[in-house]
């Protein structure tokens, strides 16, 4: 049952991720990306990490992708502007080479990797629960956690600075 669910979710994830790239319409791309986030949350639930699944939905699908959709809806990409931006042959060749190189590097890196298994007897199935995750975050990984929050603070201050009205500037 779980295995079948995994294969179903995995194929759905790959399909939607491909559709993000293939879709002609950028809004459709964003919508497929949202479905991809949902399927990834499904994987988290299969791993019994419900907290991560919920936070993934709230942060990525619920907040960040809404802002993506915002911007892309305002860009108003219709047929006309699509024809204006032509990809030249040189760009296509360069893209193919770069993508192929990345693929080679990935294969070289992953070829000899040994998948770390788990011991079924000592494995703690509750490791993904909120309480355990919180305990680990606030003891073992306290410094990276706090540094990440400082990073967010800096980003927030930067965004406020960029969005601030300059002296003498008037919008309406």
């Amino acid at each position: 049952m779980t295995e079948n669910l995994f294969y179903f979710l995995a194929s759905l994830t790959l399909l939607c991720a491909l559709m993000v790239v293939i879709s002609k319409n950028p809004v459709h791309s964003v919508l497929f990306l949202i479905i991809t986030f949902f399927t990834i949350s499904g994987h988290y639930i299969l791993l019994n990490a419900q907290f991560l699944a919920a936070v993934n939905i709230i942060v990525y699908a619920g907040a960040i992708m809404v802002l993506f959709l915002f911007v892309i809806m305002f860009l108003n990409m219709n047929k006309k502007s699509e024809n204006l931006v032509k990809t030249s042959t040189l760009t296509k060749v360069a893209g193919t080479i770069a993508g192929g190189l990345l693929f080679v590097v990935m294969i070289a890196a992953l070829k000899d990797v040994e998948v770390a298994g788990y011991n079924a007897e000592t494995y703690n199935s509750q490791i993904g629960m909120v309480e355990n995750l919180g305990a680990v975050l606030f003891t073992q990984y306290l410094l990276p956690f706090e540094l990440a929050s400082i990073l967010f603070l800096v980003a927030m201050v930067g965004a406020v600075m960029l969005g601030k009205k300059e002296v003498g500037e008037q919008h309406f």
């Binding site: 919920a54 619920g62 809404v66 959709l69 915002f70």
Partner: protein, 355 residues
């Protein structure tokens, strides 16, 4: 899980789904009746006794109208939009504990569809997805006014989600749990969270109004001064779905507020009542079941009170201007919510220090 438990769950989920839709249907009726009462009118009184069949007549009208799709609209997304709005609205009632446990034939049956240890986050996640129904519908209409309406609605929802989440954190700090059932259990008797979190509750209430697009925050559909928002191009039952989803959201928001702040299914003197019932019926099981049923009645009474409050406010207050709305969300509610978190943290530490 045994098959009988699965069967019970399936029945319970269907019942909750049905009750959600029924309450949303009759909310439309009571909204008009209450509006009529406040404005000294009669309200709907033609269809059935006292106009009770009015929601059916409305639904029939909406179904038989022409199902119009604008020529240059994105057809698939135009249809999916209201679908998402309905789907998301009906999803969130799954984790709400409508009652304590019933004991039937030795089976302990919890009156909650799914118990997850992240219940609050589930509700929050589902609420944050509600924006997509509006945004997709507004964009797919291929109309500038619809798009602007959708953007207006989405930015309002995102802004108030922040303050809502921050006001929730204070409750979670007190209860130390994300499970809605545990939060409900901790408020046994008259020990409700509202006594400890009055400020948090007011912030949450204001945000709930904004999230459900109700007056005084109903800018997404202010057809008088701006063009009717994201559903300008919608008609027939697709428009009906959007409006219906709003009423379901009101029901869910009321249920969440009742659970988080007003003690869910708990009511004053519930333990005294149970002890008295044990004495009268001489059976702990019967006493437990009766108290649970009274608790369910208490829960729905609280929900109906909140729904009434939503309607009362709609016919009392005028609408905000858009800059006032943004100012209230970002410059007043969020700092207040952060202050509330600090106060709650201080209170918890002080309690540990003193006792």
């Amino acid at each position: 899980m045994e098959s009988i438990d699965l069967l019970y769950k399936a029945i319970y989920i269907l019942v909750i789904f049905g009750i959600t839709l029924l309450i949303a249907t009759y909310s439309t009726y009571f909204e008009r009746k209450i509006a009529a009462f406040i404005q000294d009118r009669v309200g709907p009184n033609r269809a059935g006794p006292a106009g009770l069949l009015q929601p059916l007549a409305d639904a029939g009208k909406l179904f038989f109208k022409e199902d119009f799709i604008p020529a240059r609209a994105s057809k698939a997304l135009f249809i999916i939009g209201p679908g998402i709005a309905m789907l998301v609205a009906t999803m969130s009632s799954a984790v709400i504990p409508f009652g304590d446990n019933l004991i039937i034939d030795g089976h302990q049956i919890w009156l909650q569809a799914i118990e997850v240890n992240i219940g609050v986050l589930y509700v929050f996640g589902v609420v944050s997805l509600g924006v997509y129904g509006l945004m997709i519908g507004g964009w797919a209409s291929n109309n500038k006014f619809s798009l602007l309406g959708a953007i207006r609605a989405a930015s309002q929802n995102i802004s108030y989600e922040l303050a809502m989440g921050l006001s929730l954190i204070a409750v979670l700090m007190m209860t130390g749990s994300l499970s809605l059932r545990e939060i409900a259990e901790q408020q046994a008797g008259f020990n409700w969270n509202i006594w400890y979190q009055p400020l948090g509750f007011i912030i949450f209430l204001v945000c709930a109004f904004a999230e459900t697009n109700r007056t005084p925050f109903d800018l997404p559909e202010s057809e008088a001064e701006l063009i009717g928002g994201y559903h300008t191009e919608y008609g027939s039952m697709k428009l009906g779905m959007y409006l219906f989803a709003e009423y379901i959201n009101i029901f869910v928001a009321s249920a969440v507020m009742a659970t988080l702040y007003f003690g869910a299914y708990n009511f004053p003197f519930m333990f005294e009542l149970e002890a008295w019932l044990v004495g009268v019926t001489e059976s702990a099981v019967t006493a437990n079941n009766i108290v649970t049923l009274v608790g369910v009645a208490a829960m729905f009474a609280k929900i109906f009170l909140f729904i009434f409050f939503f309607m009362w406010v709609r016919w009392t207050l005028p609408r905000f201007r858009y800059d006032q709305l943004m100012k209230l969300g970002w410059q007043i509610l969020i700092p207040l919510a952060i202050l509330n978190i600090i106060l709650t943290g201080g209170g918890i530490l002080l309690k540990d220090y003193l006792f």
